[in-house]
């Protein structure tokens, strides 16, 4: 019993069976997190570096907690305040860290493909914690776990991904995963934020109408506008975005059905989600965060064995 890959670089490389194994294992870890002693000794011989070249709150804390719950030793690296600022290359930094006997690398980087590059050059197992606008596999897995918990299965589930699809690694990882698991996906947002390959290469439905997407879906996964990745104006203002694509309580109550609201965080309140939705009864946003630890424990546990 093992994953078909040695690294978790993206959902794109995983088989359906890999995803099922990670989700199944995560279910068992979620039970561990309810115990009086919330940890197991599985990774007590493993040292993990969390290599964050880009800002993160949830993902970094979630990974660190997952590692500690597995009894791994952890070290944290953030680019600011490190020798990266003095001009050290990514590969040099990582090789220096690995020479101190580190077994696994959890990595976030603003450049798409950075973890894939690393995987070709270093012996340690790598988990991608988000690379540029490419993938964020553990987010897609925890989203899948949260949806499975709520609906029992992903098969046939209608999932709308709403917002800045173009710059979202969460969207891409989710689309790969949902396609593999037999869910239906629709993306919604302003035309300038939806790349054409979404339909041509990934076979996803597209709408520019928020209402249509909400009317259609069982789950709406709402994304943040990634202003830090946009180097040209793609919509006129956040205020206008909110008027066309922001989700508020009234909108949800007029749908005539119940849908589940998810968000990978951080939320820009009053832009893509109003507070009465983010904190409302339809939202499972904090469950997603809770499930993130169990899912990351599963990924770390299943990848810790690559030298066996």
């Amino acid at each position: 019993m093992a994953l078909s890959t040695k690294h978790l670089l993206g959902i794109k490389d995983l088989h359906k069976e890999d995803i099922e194994l990670i989700l199944h294992t995560a279910t068992q870890f979620k039970e561990v997190l309810q115990r009086p002693v919330k940890k197991v000794p599985s990774l007590r011989d493993i040292t993990i570096v969390n290599l964050f070249y880009e800002n993160s709150t949830r993902t970094r804390i979630s990974f660190e907690l997952a590692e500690k719950r597995l009894s791994a030793d952890t070290i944290n690296f953030t680019a600011s305040g490190s020798s990266a600022a003095k001009g050290e290359t990514l590969l040099d930094t990582v090789n220096n860290i690995l020479s101190m006997k580190v077994d696994m690398v959890v990595m976030r980087h603003s450049a798409s493909g950075a973890p894939h590059f690393l995987a070709r050059h270093i012996p340690a197992a790598i988990i991608n914690a988000g690379d540029g606008i490419n993938e964020h596999p553990t987010q897609a897995l925890l989203d899948a776990f949260s949806m499975t918990e709520k609906f029992g299965s992903l098969k046939g589930l209608k999932v709308a991904i709403i917002g800045d699809i173009m710059h979202s690694r969460v969207a891409l990882s989710n689309i790969y995963l949902l396609n593999k698991m037999g869910a239906e996906v629709m993306v919604a947002g302003p035309p300038t934020l939806i790349p054409p390959y979404i339909t041509t290469a990934l076979g996803v439905k597209v709408t520019y109408s928020l209402k249509e997407a909400l009317q259609w879906c069982d789950v709406a996964n709402v994304l943040r506008i990634q202003l830090e990745r946009q180097n040209q104006p793609l919509f006129s203002s956040l205020r206008e975005y909110n008027l066309s694509y922001g989700i508020n309580r009234r909108l949800l109550e007029n749908l005539g059905k119940e849908i589940v609201i998810m968000h990978p965080g951080p939320i820009n309140r009053g832009v893509e989600l109003d507070s009465d939705v983010a904190d409302g009864p339809f939202s499972i946003i904090l469950h997603q965060v809770e499930n993130g630890v169990a899912v990351r424990m599963a990924a770390l546990y299943l990848l810790s064995n690559r030298n066996a």
């Binding site: 019993m1 093992a2 194994l21 009086p36 002693v37 000794p41 030298n307």
Partner: protein, 175 residues
């Protein structure tokens, strides 16, 4: 291949184990049963059922423990994890651990580690259907034994349960 326990004997053995547990813990006060996943659970289900028939007025706690994350061979091979289901407090309780076959003792070593993460039991006892004697790699011995057998390393003990194997008996396989 040799049958160690046929269906009828297996049934009687389970009844005897339940009676022996009852003998030591008369009303099952402060006593909990915990079956080990995956295959110890078939035996613990039967023992729990037998004890309930012996003590129809009594309610007692019965849980299931998976030891996958506590195994000492994780770096050799990963095993599929199963559900742990202990929805009660084991603090100061008498815990009867139940598994189908006791061989090297490594599973029970892991189970003891896992168990104490749920609290500090007053006492832990071990109940097994088959004890493969002289094979222990840890100083662990059972308190309740269905059948003791002498085996060599190349042999395998296979317990068949109705739930998964459509038949119920225990056999010794030479390989």
């Amino acid at each position: 291949m040799k049958t160690i326990l046929a269906k009828e004997q297996l049934h009687l053995t389970v009844q005897r184990l339940a009676c022996q547990i009852r003998e030591d813990y008369p009303d099952l006060q402060d006593t909990v049963l915990i079956g080990l996943q995956p295959r110890g659970v078939f035996l613990s289900n039967k023992i729990a059922q037998a004890l309930q028939q012996l003590l129809p007025q009594q309610t007692f706690h019965y849980g299931k423990l998976d030891i996958t994350f506590y195994r000492d061979d994780i770096r050799k091979e990963l095993h599929r994890a199963n559900k742990t289901d202990i929805l009660f407090n084991i603090e100061n309780k008498n815990v009867i651990l139940i598994d189908d076959v006791l061989y090297t003792g490594r599973t029970i070593r892991a189970a003891l580690d896992a168990l104490v993460d749920f609290g500090r039991p007053a006492k832990v006892a071990l109940c097994v259907l088959i004890d493969r004697r002289f094979s222990r790699e840890f100083p662990i011995q059972p308190d309740y034994v269905g059948r003791s057998i002498d085996t060599i390393v190349s042999q395998k003990v296979k317990v068949h349960w109705l739930e998964t194997d459509e038949q119920e008996y225990v056999e010794l396989l030479d390989s």
